[in-house]
Symmetry: C2
Subunit: 147 residues, 2 copies
DNA sequence: CACCATAATGAGACTGAGACTCATTCTCAC
DNA sequence: GTGAGAATGAGTCTCAGTCTCATTATGGTG
């Protein structure tokens, strides 16, 4: 779960940016806050509709764009032609994903060694790395076991 | 350049898979062979048209899908809502990319340290990693200099 | 070479994620 | 409460990629 700490951080950041409060945006934020991994825009739309609070697609995308712009949400692309959106903890702590080629499950993982290797790239390559994405394809632990 | 070595490997692999030879597919392969980094389907279409050999979009996508299936080409997604396709050297040697947030340029890089860190993940995470993608966002060397 | 089964092609229709428009509604500072 | 500006919603539009199906190319066989 992104937790209430995340929600608070989101509201603070948006307020600091001089943005109005808005109920539709709040709904999107609330859905994301109950989530510890990436959700697609369509899933958010469905959940809101199911909760009796239907929200226009354009509004959902606008809210997500805004959150991404302010570094509060990360856009994750796992290759099925549809972006997913994942709450981003303040402090930069994040995880990456493995897509299981057998069951299709999206598995989150977190590896300091990998992060270190990426941090070192800036020096070695002579570029400035602002952010990075890593996506693995393979067999998840579950499918690994049944293989 | 993917080189003539790549082309030969492609023809061998496709022949070994029992596929017919086909001129349209050959054209797509030829365009890719003159390329050392990722090309979009639209770019391939334009190049073929410009070369006086217009080819149906469906055909280009079919050829690309086939090449991806046989591990001869890699589908690369850099987040502008459009896949790119990159010849893959036999032997598994490959590179990753940085998208410059200023000029939009796609820069290829190659880092053994990063590859090693990813190879080690299998053990640490208890999963089997078949393949991986890494995408960096930041300032390229050119934009870095002018900053 | 002629024939046939099968594989590949091309033109265009279709799909679905996401962007755009604009009239209406909400926020909030005064 | 009022007004300016921000946000919303319904729908339209775009564009990468897929699907369909009638036509054409390929390669093996006699
Ligand atoms: Zn996640
Ligand atoms: Zn990371
Ligand atoms: Zn490349
Ligand atoms: Zn640049």
């Amino acid at each position: 779960m992104a937790s209430s700490r995340w929600i608070e951080h989101v509201y603070e950041t948006l307020a600091a940016a001089g943005l109005n409060r808005s109920s539709a945006r709040d709904r999107v934020i609330e859905v994301l806050s109950g989530q510890d991994c990436a959700l697609s825009a369509a899933e958010i739309e469905h959940r809101l509709r199911a909760a009796g609070r239907p929200t226009a697609r354009a509004t959902i995308y606008r809210a997500l764009d805004l959150l991404v712009e302010h570094g509060l949400v990360e856009r994750v692309i796992v290759g099925e032609g549809q972006a997913r959106f994942e709450p981003l903890e303040p402090g930069g702590h994040h995880h990456h994903h493995l897509v299981c080629v057998q069951c299709g499950r999206l598995v989150a993982f977190d590896d300091p060694g990998l992060e270190r290797a990426i941090d070192d790239l800036s020096d070695r390559l002579g570029v400035t790395v602002d952010s990075h994405e890593v996506l693995l394809h393979g067999a998840c632990d579950r499918c690994e076991a049944t293989a």
